[in-house]
Symmetry: C2
Subunit: 160 residues, 2 copies
DNA sequence: TGTTCTGATGTTATATTATTACATGTGATA
DNA sequence: TATCACATGTAATAATATAACATCAGAACA
């Protein structure tokens, strides 16, 4: 199954190179420890450009000479998520490289229920709407996760 | 751990009775098959008034004379979610009775990272913001799930 | 009444996802 | 070099979820 992280065609080399560059930069500036396993995990997510399960990432890490036990993948992925370099897509029990690591954003994930494709979008409006609801409940917001289920452009066609 | 579905004190008998009443009504009118296990599962969620794991619900169902194997709980919970009588809280791998079954809503769940308390809020603004993002991506929205992680009023106090 | 169909339930087994616990290594700092 | 903090490796297991199939109960109908 394809499960790309964007619905439409694009020059993927830009995503990959750009994101890795930002990651390296953040590592230098913010003192992030982007160690070999962690960087490799990010590369794997970027290469595939789709939501991947932890065990799938683990397999690729093991092929790359790293450990082959679950914590190896979970630790690397947790690190990436903690530091805004990847996101966790809960509906799919999967992870995807963040496409906008340079900005402090509230991502919205659109997940196709037919083909499992995922696209990440930025939505400042969603963030502010959430914030006002939370304020009313006296709740302090730290992270916002929005997952939208529906039909991607391709599967809409197929359904017709 | 308590994990209530609302942060503030309230008359819980209203929630419980009201929601069950709406559920029964929907069963009659819309031809929903709210069978004994399904109704019991809803009662369990309402009684506890908090997010509960499937196995926790299963245990209570078994005590009530129903089957004690995982599919018993998963099927009942899936039914409730499908029909808008419960929600799945993915961050907690848990389920909670819907507090607004009468309305077609986009729930926002606020989840406390310290005590796991969950509160459900309605947010029409969030829905429309999501919709406009999705339109731009030519994505057809079917369900929206918003989970906000942060600190509930009680844990904010404790952290000070 | 009895037959047939559909969907719900029970049960066994197993798959998938995630964590705990502990040993080992590694690089910075005093 | 001693010590510390943190990263990694590994074994074992916990927690969550589903597949597959048998059985049952009620509706629709001859």
């Amino acid at each position: 199954m394809p499960t790309p992280i964007a619905f439409h065609k694009h020059d993927h080399s830009c995503c990959e190179g750009g994101v890795l560059e930002v990651a390296d930069q953040r590592a230098r500036e913010a003192g992030l420890r982007l160690t070999p396993v962690r960087r490799k995990a990010l590369e794997i997510l970027l290469e595939n450009h789709r939501a991947m399960g932890a065990y799938e990432v683990l397999e690729r890490l093991a092929e790359g000479g790293f450990g082959d036990q679950p914590p190896v993948a979970y630790r690397a992925l947790d690190f990436l998520v903690e530091n805004g370099l990847a996101h966790r897509i809960r509906r799919l029990n999967a992870y995807a490289a963040c496409m906008h690591p340079e900005t402090d954003h509230t991502p919205v994930f659109m997940i196709c229920r037919v083909c499992d494709a995922v696209a990440e979008a930025l939505a400042q409006d969603v963030r502010s709407a959430v914030r006002s609801v939370a304020d009313a409940a006296e709740f302090v917001v730290e992270r916002v996760n929005v997952e939208v289920l529906g039909l991607c452009p391709t599967c809409q066609e197929a359904t017709k």
